[in-house]
Amino acid sequence: MTGPVTRTIARVAPLFFVATTALLVAPLYPWLGDSIEPRVLGLPWSLVYVLLVIVVNAVALTGLYMARVVDAREDEGDGGGHG
């Protein structure tokens, strides 16, 4: 997968993870995540919220990996390849 779309996704991807990091710190975490309710499967929201961010990041990383948009060049062999 190459071309302008790939390049755009590769450039935007770090910003996505900056955004999900922002979800985990002040002011967003205290505002959105730091509460007991709503509970999910009996767990408090403060824990579920962090788990959801992990899931979102994992899905995003999987998508980027499968789509081969971030530095997906294959190896050229140990020590014997070139640039």
Binding site: A13, P14, F17, T20, T21, L24, V25, A26, P27, Y29, P30, D34, S35, I36, R39, L41, G42, L43, P44, S46, L47, V50, L51, V53, I54, V55, N57, A58, L61, T62, L64, Y65, V70, D71, A72, R73, E74, D75, E76, G77, D78, G79, G81, H82, G83
Partner: protein
């Protein structure tokens, strides 16, 4: 039952580690990177088991007991911790294989054409590694004391004699294959206990949290129990951990062990499944919180699994002891292995310019593993007089200083050797000076750092400013050199 399981486990780990080491050529490249041959299963467990230490296993429930939901910070920073490796890991793997580089300091020494940089990074890495090694020893010592009644230093010595042997003779392959064993043990035991104990004591995880909400709701949100964690403290903890995590030499070095560049990215993709290992530890922390008389130190989980109201307590204690040993050994072996690799390759060969034959290099690596093990034991025996928490404060502040070199070195063509050395020295110098001031002259420290900001972050800001300024003020490196590093 406990002693038989522990000695059986140690024996099996020893045989497995040494057997794995015999699969390679036995040279120094084999010792340090396993000849860059690790597939997806080995990479998964090497990354996961290395990260989850005895500190995570014993310290996470303790943190719930003391600070409540502040303990979730480990999960929060873990959510992003491996993302940087996804972006730069493949490139590091490719360049490392092409240029024959096997350690983090060697990599950036080559990028910036500076042996001095390699030596400084190597020494700083060793400084950061030692307190972390001591913590792993402490975890092993606690288990051996609990199960066998041994003195913790003697217990740690026995466990780490096994680890030292399989790292010496198994090298990276020994570390990798034993990490598979240790990872499986940790995941299985922790998930089993994390679900079984709340089930037996409270009728399940949900009913347990009903009780926490009714009796100790302040433990489920920030700031938590007094004195509490402010939003700013929580954010600083999460951000500093994210920034520093992949800069730890033993983490960064794993980019060199993968069979391919894509596999490094794959490791970052699957890592969150290992991260979920922390969830049952939170459950266990909250279970202990609800029981009267629970200790608030790192022994809380061993106390919980031996609680008289639990059926099968002996089996639980034995299995949990194995999990702690696995956590301690899987991180301790990576640290001993990484520390010896750094000392020999970065400090002796690159820094001091020693010319060592392949055979001498391999044996020096092995002897350094023993020396680091003895040093760790010695420091553990002094732990009563030395505050481990204080040393860890310094240890965490050091690898963060490598962030500027990594990001600017990989992505900014203007960054050069003079700037890299200048920035790193400024950052490390400030961190060490502030640390010393905080211990020796607290009033001076309070005047310099009135908001008690993390010393690692302060060092990083100075480091970045110096590196950018010097890079712009001095000539860039040759284009032909930069091309070797995909710039």
């Amino acid at each position: 039952m406990g002693s038989a399981l522990i000695f059986g486990y140690l024996g099996f780990a020893l045989v497995l580690g040494i057997w794995a080491g015999r699969r390679g050529s036995g040279g120094s490249d084999d010792f340090i990177t396993g000849e860059r041959s690790f597939g997806p299963v080995l990479m998964y467990f090497v990354m996961g088991a290395m990260v989850f230490s005895a500190y995570a296993l014993l310290g996470t429930p303790q943190r719930v007991m003391v600070k409540g939901s502040d303990a979730f910070y480990a999960l929060a920073y873990g959510a992003v911790a491996f993302v940087p490796i996804f972006f730069f890991g493949a490139r590091v793997r490719r360049i490392g294989a092409r240029e024959g580089l096997v350690t983090q300091a060697e990599f950036f020494g080559a990028r910036f054409a500076s042996r001095r940089l390699t030596a400084i990074m190597g020494l700083a890495s060793l400084l950061a590694c030692v307190p972390y090694i001591v913590i792993q020893f402490k975890g092993a010592g606690i288990v051996m004391q609990q199960v066998l009644g041994w003195d913790p230093v003697l217990g740690a010595a026995v466990v780490y004699a096994v680890v030292t042997l399989y790292v010496m003779f198994g090298g990276m392959r020994g570390v990798g294959w034993t990490n598979v064993l240790q990872g499986v043990v940790m995941l299985a035991v922790v998930w089993w206990l994390g679900l079984e104990i709340p089930q037996q004591l409270f009728g399940g995880v949900g009913p347990m949290f009903d009780r926490v909400i009714a009796e100790r709701p302040e433990y489920l949100t920030l700031p938590g129990p007094a004195p509490g964690t402010s939003d700013a403290q929580w954010s600083a903890e999460v951000l500093l951990s994210i920034l520093g995590f992949t800069m730890w030499p033993q983490v960064f070095m794993k980019c060199f062990t993968a069979r391919s560049a894509r596999l490094v990215q794959h490791s970052a993709v699957v890592y969150p499944t290992f991260l979920l290992f922390l969830v049952p530890l939170f459950f266990l922390g909250y279970a202990a919180l609800l029981l009267p008389g629970a200790p608030k130190d790192e022994r809380v989980l061993l106390w919980l699994v031996g609680h008289p109201s639990l059926a099968g307590g002996e089996l639980m204690t034995a299995c949990f002891s194995l999990a702690v040993l696995a956590a301690s050994m899987s991180t301790g072996d990576a640290l001993l292995h990484g520390g010896s690799s750094i000392f020999v390759r970065d400090v002796l060969i690159k820094g001091a310019g020693l010319q060592l034959s392949e055979r001498v290099q391999t044996w020096t690596l092995r002897i350094t593993v023993v020396v680091l093990g003895v040093l760790g034991l010695w420091m553990m025996s002094l732990a009563g007089r030395w505050s481990l928490v204080d040393l860890l404060l310094l240890a965490y502040a050091v690898p963060v200083q490598f962030l500027t070199i990594t990001l600017l070195g990989l992505y900014w063509r203007r960054a050069n050797g003079v700037a890299a050395v200048g920035g790193l020295c400024a950052g490390l110098g400030l961190v060490i000076a502030l640390f010393a001031a905080s211990k020796l002259a607290p009033t001076v420290y309070a005047a310099i750092n009135p908001w008690d900001l993390q010393i690692g972050v302060l060092g990083l800001v100075v480091n970045l400013a110096v590196m950018v300024a010097l890079s712009l003020a001095t000539p860039p490196m040759a284009k032909s050199h930069l091309q070797r590093f995909e710039l």
